[in-house]
């Protein structure tokens, strides 16, 4: 479970979250970040608490049992689409990043296809296997991530004065809703429980200890996301960078390494992380769609092809998106998506409360 939360947290470092934060840096970002941290932990607590009531059941199971069709079909479709968009944002961001920083000769469609091919296989796996994959890959990458962060933070080019300048803004009254929603997006990982709940036997513990762990890691990640790029690039100039974090990684060199520029390790590692995040999001989305749509017409050799159909659809839509969107639009749409997060939580809680009421738990 914690892997899911942490993967989403770390994955957002390369996504649009730092950029949004940095752009809004004059409007009391620090306060919104602290608020997002508190809200994020509280929301995580509520979600886990609610799902504990229905241990061993996924959201579609619960809704199908306790609510009527006109209610659960739109809700699940809404969730599925949200998850698909979340995955697509990660994918498109990464593809942009990769073509900008590593290989601009390779066409974007080709890079996207490479992702889509592998992710399609991953989406069709059993949910349990998805969890195992996330666990293994995340642990493999974790060491390198920690190494990278330590390396970057101890770099001599990191100017703590800039960080202090940024800190000074703590008193600014928050005016930015956008930065709050972007920062709280870091904590969205927990809602993947809607599908994976069926694999957690027994109750998930979420006491003070777990809350502290998630809070600390969240705070650390937020701190790294926001302050380190500022420390490297300066409080004033940072607004002009499209990918503040990658540019930051690019300013660090390893004197004795086989790979001299840290940015390549960074990008390769984050390929793994964004892949995991993509995998989890789209897998959840697929499972949600599967739970309501089973096309009986799409049958071939006794196999229902609906899931293959959805996988194909996902791939096609994201390839289309990659060719159409530019970086500015991506950023715009991503922030709109982050801004809708409260609605997302609201619907999730509403549906769970309804189910709970009906189930009389």
């Amino acid at each position: 479970m914690y892997y899911l939360i942490f993967v989403t947290m770390v994955a957002n470092i390369i996504a649009s979250v730092p950029r949004i934060l940095v752009i809004e840096s004059n409007k009391g970002v620090i306060f919104s970040m602290i608020a997002a941290l508190v809200v994020g932990v509280v929301l995580t607590y509520i979600v886990i608490h609610l799902f504990n009531k229905f241990s061993g059941q996924s959201l579609p199971d619960i809704l199908k049992k306790y609510s009527s069709k006109w209610f659960y079909v739109p809700v699940i479709i809404y969730f599925a689409v949200s998850w698909f968009i979340a995955g697509a944002i990660t994918l498109v961001t990464y593809v942009f990043l990769f073509t900008t920083f590593v290989s601009f000769e390779t066409s974007m469609v080709l890079t996207t296809l490479a992702f889509v091919v592998i992710v399609s296989f991953g989406m069709l796996m059993k949910s349990e296997s998805v969890l195992h994959t996330v666990e293994i890959v995340f642990l493999l990458l974790l060491l390198v991530i920690i190494f990278l962060f330590v390396k970057i933070m101890t770099d001599e080019n990191l100017n703590w004065d800039f960080v202090q300048v940024a800190m000074m803004n703590i008193g600014t009254t928050p005016k930015s809703y956008m930065s709050f929603s972007a920062a709280s997006y870091l904590f969205i990982g927990v809602v993947n429980i809607v599908i994976f709940n069926s694999f957690f036997k027994g109750k998930l513990k979420f006491g003070l200890k777990q809350a502290t762990v998630i809070g600390t890691v969240g705070a650390l990640v937020l701190f790294i996301t926001y302050f380190i790029p500022i420390g490297f690039n300066g409080f004033e100039q940072i607004e002009h960078l499209n990918f503040p974090w990658v540019s930051t990684a690019d300013s660090v060199r390893m004197k004795y390494g086989v790979i001299e520029r840290v940015v390549f390790i960074f990008i390769i590692i984050f390929l793994g992380i964004s892949f995991l995040s993509l995998l989890v999001h789209w897998h959840v989305s697929l499972k949600l769609l599967e739970s309501i749509f089973q096309f009986n017409k799409l049958k071939w050799k006794n196999k229902n092809l609906s899931s293959y159909f959805f996988v194909f659809l996902f791939g096609a839509v994201s390839t289309f998106l990659v060719t159409r969107i530019n970086e500015f639009e991506l950023f715009k749409y991503a922030s709109i998506f982050y801004n809708t997060l409260p609605i997302f939580y609201f619907i999730l809680f509403l549906s769970l409360f309804v189910a709970k009421r009906r189930a009389k738990l």
Binding site: F98, V102, T111, E128, S129, T133, I136, V258, I259, L271
Partner: protein, 453 residues
């Protein structure tokens, strides 16, 4: 004492006559009437599979020494080798396996007097170790079961015989520790064995393929081993061992990926040595899978990843090579595979020549002819060596094939393809299961079991 041929004796019991007919009057089917005064008995057996001396000692001699038929009958019934009387088809199978049918005053007994020729344990060939037991299983299931019982003297060890329905009618024994085994796994294994319908299963190697869950599988979901210490270790960890008569290998199920990376010798070394060799093996595994594909990614797609000096030296060594890097890699890897494949089958004296010619001469000549770069030669030899680091050969074969898949994916998609392809392999492994147990998974709770065999 006189021995007559069956068809000359008029009062042979009906059942024996019938059996004799059913066995097609084969030359080696003998029906021997035993007669002493008023007492008589009949013995029916197949001469080619029954131990003649043993038969003489434990059945024929006592007949003439014991006073009455009742004595003889109770003597037979108390023989240690007596088995339950079978009927019909099963009886015929038992007879062809070396059982003797005895008839005493309308009573029939079946005694197992098998002649076993290949019952001496062999040298451990599949996974030789320096420390640890040197002898492996033998070709006879009795000896093997005896070896395992001796090594694993736990009362909870259960042996279950399964009769296999095919032409060889081999005995298959299912071994497990009743206390430790996971019931779901045991049921899955049993079901799988019962479901098999193949006309001829020759050895456990054959059986292992049949037990594999999918028809076209790449990674083995079962370990084949000839080491008794590995078997007992696995039994102690709650796994199911399948043994087949006539084959010196046992099947261990279910297995997970980490099982394939551990050699039996790891249990006989001190902690840090084991730790070091394990790290070495995983490093070898990664090198073996990633290196060829990485070469393609780095030379053809993103040479700027490496520091400038290294990138330049790689590029310089590729100066004269006329084709893209993936052809170069494929070409060299194929040559290496040819070399491995040919030297496996050759007798020892010739295989040295093959490796010398292939390895030394071809390597130097290929670079001088500018067909490959020097660095490619280093990579190929590194890959060749590391593919033998994996202790279980089936796994190392699977990894060798994976390498080509990754190479293809990298050639198509570049550096992203390399990483994603690797993640894809991990996903493929996690999605696989061996008798209901996930194949690749990090097991936190039982770190001792995690070490596996």
């Amino acid at each position: 004492m006189f021995i007559l041929c069956a068809n000359e004796k008029p009062n042979t019991p009906e059942l024996m006559k019938e059996i004799f007919e059913k066995l097609n009057r084969s030359e080696d089917v003998l029906t021997i009437p035993l007669q002493l005064g008023n007492n008589n008995a009949f013995v029916l057996y197949l001469k080619t599979v029954v131990d003649g001396i043993k038969l003489q000692n434990i059945i024929i001699k006592p007949f003439f020494e014991l006073k009455s038929m009742d004595y003889f009958s109770s003597y037979i019934q108390s023989l240690p080798d007596i088995v339950k009387m079978k009927t019909g088809e099963e009886l015929l199978i038992q007879l062809t396996k070396g059982h003797v049918l005895i008839s005493i005053q309308d009573q029939f007994f079946l005694v197992d007097i098998k002649m076993i020729t290949a019952n001496s344990p062999q040298q451990a060939l599949m996974e030789p170790t320096i420390y640890g037991p040197q002898l492996a299983l033998s070709e006879s299931i009795e000896t093997n079961l005896n070896m395992i019982r001796n090594r694993y003297a736990e009362p909870s060890l259960t042996i279950e015989n399964v009769q296999f329905i095919d032409k060889t009618h081999q005995t298959i024994a299912l071994l497990y520790d009743k206390k430790k085994v996971k019931q779901s796994v045991l049921d899955a294994v049993r079901k799988k064995i019962e479901e098999l319908d193949k006309t001829l299963v020759e050895s456990s190697g054959d059986l292992q393929l049949l037990l594999n869950s999918t028809k076209y599988s790449l990674f083995p979901s079962i370990i084949l081993t000839d080491r008794p210490d590995r078997i007992t270790y696995n039994l102690a960890n709650g796994k199911v061992v399948i043994m087949m008569d006539g084959s010196p290998q046992a099947i261990v199920a279910p297995v997970i990926f980490f099982d394939f990376m551990v050699s039996m010798e790891d249990n006989y070394h001190s902690y840090w040595i084991t730790f070091f060799t394990l790290i070495l093996r995983y490093a070898g595994l990664l090198t073996c899978i990633l290196l060829p594909a990485m070469y393609v990614a780095v030379t053809s797609y993103t040479p700027d990843i490496f520091r400038v000096e290294l990138a330049l030296s790689v590029a310089a060594s590729r100066l004269g090579v006329p084709y893209p890097s993936f052809i170069e890699v494929l070409f060299m890897l194929l040559f290496m595979e040819f070399l491995i494949e040919s030297s496996i089958r050759l007798p020892k004296a010739i295989s040295a020549t093959a490796t010398t010619v292939g390895g030394l001469i071809l390597g130097t000549a290929a670079t001088e002819a500018a067909l490959t770069s020097n660095i490619m030669i280093i990579i190929v030899s590194a890959v060749a060596i590391t593919s033998f680091v994996i202790p279980i050969s089936e796994m190392s074969f699977a990894i060798r094939i994976c390498r080509y898949l990754l190479l293809a994916f990298t050639t198509l998609f570049g550096t992203v393809g390399l990483m994603l392809g690797f993640l894809g392999i991990i996903m493929f492994l996690t999605n696989k299961d061996s008798f209901g147990e996930p194949f690749l998974k990090i097991n936190w709770k039982s770190s001792k079991r995690e070490k596996e065999v």
